[in-house]
Amino acid sequence: MSAGETGSPSRRLFSGLAWISPWLVGFLVFLAFPLLLSFRYSLTDYSILESPLPIGLENYRQLLDDPTFWKVMWNTAVYAIFTVGLGTVLAILLASLLNRDIPGIGIFRTAIFVPTLVPLVAAAMVWMWLFNGELGLINAGLRPLFTVVNAALGTDFRGPAWLEEAAWNMPALVIMSLWMVGRAVVIYLAALQGVPQDMYEASAIDGMGRARRFWHVTLPMISPVILFNVIIAIIDAWQVFAVPYVMTRGIGGPEKAMYFYSHYLYDNAFLFGPRMGYACALAWVQLAIVLCLTGLTFWVSRRYVFYRS
């Protein structure tokens, strides 16, 4: 028994608090206090360099009339829908493929995971080259396809200018986000390896094929992990910032097609005025949205997530 376990309850409490104090102080000073302060600032007109001017709920009211706010809401919601949906499906499929005992599987697993280790700014720079309309590898890969199609149909299709044409901005960003599903894949892979083999054997004896086994055994068994990954993906998607910021040189793309919520928040906090009070209101709305979506996901999950007891 250690000394901590033998002392009086108050001594043990003090000892426990002392041990967690670095985290506790960090939480209070660097998270809880700024969080409360940001709420206070959201009720003010505050430019960082001037003292906050109390304005009640004016910032929140202005959000409703702000077309850029609705534009970034829309962009972020569309991005979230596609990245969460496609990312989840792709990650589960990749994890299933990687959950096999074949030679060189370690190389494939590493290849899927490595992109998540690349700094976002570096990844964005690389993808800017890949998406280059004239010189990019993606369009170079599509070119033979368009050549065949154009020859057959007499059309003039060509690879898009991914980052210069507003309509192609979102697909480009979603494609890039799918390149970084490695973190979720690793978690799914661990979950897949935890599915008891006897359940597969029992279902095989019952005559289930591979597809039905995947649908009726694998997915239910890993559903808590899917829930976890979906919630993390929703939060990540609503906070997307670095990649579109770098790709659009901080402007938000043509016609604001790559202008996202966090970027708009940042612009208000440090550029437009600056309007730190307005940015704080945006941050609180963002928190409310993420909390609502997380709550909604939990509520929906009650029907679809199975916990082994």
Binding site: D45, S47, I48, L49, E50, L53, M128, N132, G133, E134, L135, D156, R158, A161, L163, E164, E165, A166, R249, I251, G252, P254, E255, K256, Y259, D267, F270, L271, F272, G273, P274
Partner: protein
Amino acid sequence: MAGTPESGISKLDITRRAAVGALAAAGLGFALFGPRGRREPEGRVVLNYWEKWTGQEGDAMRAVVDEFNAGQDRIYVRYFSMSLIEQKAMISIAAGDPPDLVGLGSWDVPIFAETDALLPIGDRLAAAGLGPSHYAAPVRGLAGYRGQVWGVPNTCSTIALYLNRAILKEVGLDPNRAPRTIAELDEYNERMMKFGGGGRIERAGFLHREPGWWNWPFGFYFGGRLYDQDTDKAYAGMAENIRGYEWVQSYPEKYGPDRLTVFQSAFINMYNSEQQGFISGKLGMVMHGPFLVNVIRVFKPDLDYFAAPFPVEDSVYDADRPIGMLESDVLAIPRGTPHPDEAFEFLAYTQRRDVVERLAIAHCKPSPLASTSDTFAARHPNRSIEVHNRLAQSERAFLVPRTRIWPFYKREFDTEISTMWDLKAPAATVLPQIERRTQAELDRVAAKRAQREAIAADEGGDA
């Protein structure tokens, strides 16, 4: 983990000792052999100087700092090169822990000045013989705001039209004559356009969106303006500006926005590269600053170029009074610095003509001063530096609008330029919308300013 009873030492203890020992050894090694900062001579006042320049530009300023440090024994300037300097300066000043000197852009001055985040230094400058007459007339306004001087323009730059002589010759144009009017520029562009199979553009004369940094000044070349500081009014929608952007739209109308976009995507975002449009010969002319030559010297030193004032509409052409954008870097002393006198001493040092010219030459920029030395142009790497100097001295040089909401206003142009370029809406529709949104923001800021002033007056009255 249990240890053997004989030894009396658990494996955990051994692991702990090893970990602590390794950490201590690492710490000691770091302390003894780790990286060293520059040694600061004892007994000197140490100044922290934050600057935005990196690379070659940063090295040039660091050389000035080193020379200042070596030339006297009372002050030591520590030079910090950093990104996002406006934001860091803003936060440090608000927190009461600012640097002693900060290098801002001239467009940052209004927000810092309006909030008293900088020390006004007009009187000090005049006493040091660095009054308004020390600087080129248009440059004076760059560090000033609402009647006060908040810093010094330590480098400046103007925007001109750069031309590729080889392409001019190839298309049968005089290789020593630049277009002077917009109509001439269009003619030059037309002659330089080169198409490949399927109507694909292989070379263009001029593209408004290259390099894409200045999407807002096209109305100025038609006699327009964007803002009036006295009335606090935005003028994006004025007729001259609309004519300017209708001219911008005439290019995608003629050549097709898709074709131009695909063509430009080959060299977009490639400023510092041999694939850059002008350097690679894909563009015969480009609107650019003098610092373009630093890139030319690295990637294509044999490129035969020259620069001229950007062409203007016929009705506003005047050879003696060229129109061009002028901006500068501004060295300022933040409010709350503990060493304002020493900071000013360094600031004044940087304004000596020899120092200013050395920095201008290294940065490949014109001089912000009223006059240059006889050898300035000869020593300058930009063979067209006289053009930039002339623009910096021109009474029709135009500045970035002097308002704290300029980043908001500029963003409007940066995003709406694609709406106009893609021909999704005419300039006559887009520009008044920009004006309306910007004016609403100006009015909001003015209302808050008035509210703050009223509160301050009340508090003053109560006191």
